[in-house]
Symmetry: C2
Subunit: 318 residues, 2 copies
DNA sequence: TCGCTTGCTGAGTAAATGCTCACAAAACGG
DNA sequence: CCGTTTTGTGAGCATTTACTCAGCAAGCGA
């Protein structure tokens, strides 16, 4: 029942070392003695436990300033859910900060006993969230991807988000078997005419709750960096007013989806504005502020997990 | 909506510092700069965040050895639930190790949507568990104490367990308004004849799930240390074969409740052996092994949260 | 008002941590 | 079977952390 590995250990040791260090408060020297290894092996085990995410750290105190920001954002944009976490200082990235809170938000839904259809986007924020989720049994739910799983270069590194989370919580999952962005509108249409694709699309459209990242369309656009759009396409869309993107679908500063550039060839499901079901965006970072503001304004997302500086920036731009 | 304190800060700062340190991985120097305090103030804030339980650390990896022990214990004693956590080394106490796992176990029930009656004992293990619980809304449940809340010396320090947890999860709670142990059987009976007491007793008897610590009756018995029984009473009960105690009720090595000593004057509700509902013991430590074994044998508890060395010791005594 | 206690602060320092490096064992490829 | 690459190990050392201690300010009783 327990394991395949006979008895010894793998990064079981790492978990144990991390436990002794963070929960037990032992020194690494004591841990070394305890497990019977050298001091610096203990140090490696401890840092490994952290790196591998074997140890989860969560904040358990409502910091006043963050609560205030949550309340303001909720009021300002009529949100269904809002979490603001303290920022991690100037240099640090927003994913790290938001991941634990986003995971907690996702877990809320996973723990619900009635079966849900949960739709997910991709991107770094999603990936961070998934990594921070605690494994659990949630096979009553179905997890569906909003975005195609066929990349231009064939790499699948970005599409294991849904697979990973499905694996972690033992839920069935439905990838979207279309290209993220097809070369031509016709080819995209051809894919979406296929029966199996239609099924997944229908499922995603009917999702009870949606989790997505929000991408900026400035020159550091994730779509560009990951090779989904070319520099020329980006220029064209910027010209047309593009400021952000959700699940690959590009919109302007009011959150209105554009009809130019890759938008006419994007596969998968577009998140409809003004849904009555939760559509939660996970996003933080100064460069994402206009994008997030647009998505919130049009109610492409009606829930938000972000960090403190981003929250302030959102509120400061009347 | 948010806080009473106007805007500044209290140990909000501690939470923030802890967040930056544990989640953000900043050095204490950077944190000092970030919040604008001296380096050693930052260090104090960080350690305070830990001490106050503002930061929760949980292990997220099934350590093979512990899983095996869980399986063995479950089979051996026919348990409904079993968690074994790695020990924290020789010197360290069991409460520290078991508290996070016990809290997770309790939270499982708290998250259930249907209203439950949850009965709780007292003691250090319970206290540790409660401190480790994440605040949440669980007002569908009722929390009831198994044990009287009138101490011999009037101190109430041990009885705030139910109150604390009720406060944390915003659930109604029902303390047991009787002495833990009355001077005479008659006085105890008099208390229990009172209408309000009967109500609470009935509620506790009908509990859907029970959480208790397990006390040893050796010379380091918690009942003795906390002044609930005298040295003479302890001697008398040891003579009669007492090895352990659950919610103040003393039993022998087979888990059979005794009819001597304080047992004839103990207030509150005795956990009935062989319940079909979960009755979960939280206990770890070498000196508790005979007590735990007795409670398990008679099925006073049918669930267990303990640590690795205790689990081994339990299995080694055929 | 004065002296006392209490609690917090910062400086200095011992301890603990994590990083780099050179080396060895194991895995891999020919 | 041998050379090459990869992975892991321990030692030394720079950095970071935690502890102790003396001083200082606020609160309190006289």
């Amino acid at each position: 029942m327990s394991r395949n590995e006979p008895e010894p250990t793998l990064n079981d040791d790492a978990a144990r070392a991390g436990w002794l260090y963070y929960v037990g408060g032992l020194t690494q020297d004591q841990i070394a003695t305890e497990i019977g290894v050298s001091r610096q092996r203990a140090q490696r085990l401890v840092s490994r436990a952290m790196a591998e995410g074997l140890i989860h750290v969560r904040l358990n105190h409502p910091i006043g300033a963050c609560l205030d920001l949550e309340a303001e954002l909720t009021a300002r944009f009529g949100l269904m859910r809002c979490r603001v976490v303290p920022g991690l200082g100037p240099g640090s990235d927003g994913v790290r900060a938001t991941a634990p809170a986003a995971a907690a938000e996702l877990e809320r839904f996973l723990r619900m006993p009635e079966p849900l259809v949960i739709a997910l986007g991709t991107g770094r924020a999603m990936r961070g969230m998934v990594d921070a989720v605690t494994p659990m049994d949630a096979d009553q739910h179905r997890l569906v991807s909003l975005i195609g799983n066929i990349a231009p270069d064939g790499s699948a590194s970005f599409f294991d988000v849904v697979m990973r989370i499905a694996d972690k919580v033992r839920a069935p999952h439905y990838p979207m078997p279309v290209p993220v962005i097809s070369p031509t509108p016709a080819e995209n249409a051809a894919f979406h005419a296929l029966g199996p694709v239609k099924k997944v699309v229908d499922l995603a459209r009917a999702a009870d709750v949606i989790f997505v990242g929000v991408g900026q369309m400035s020159n550091d656009a994730p779509l560009l960096k990951d090779g989904f759009v070319t520099r020329l396409e980006l220029d064209e869309m910027q010209e047309a007013g593009a400021v952000g993107e959700v699940a690959g679908w590009v919109f302007d500063s009011r959150g209105i989806y554009l009809d130019v550039g890759t938008n006419i060839r994007t596969g998968g499901v577009r998140v409809a504005p003004g849904l009555d079901r939760p559509s939660i965006g996970i996003a933080a970072g100064a460069s994402k502020v206009p994008a997030i503001a647009g998505a919130l304004r049009a109610r492409i997302i009606n829930g938000l997990v972000t960090d403190e500086p981003t929250a302030r920036a959102l509120l400061n731009r009347l």
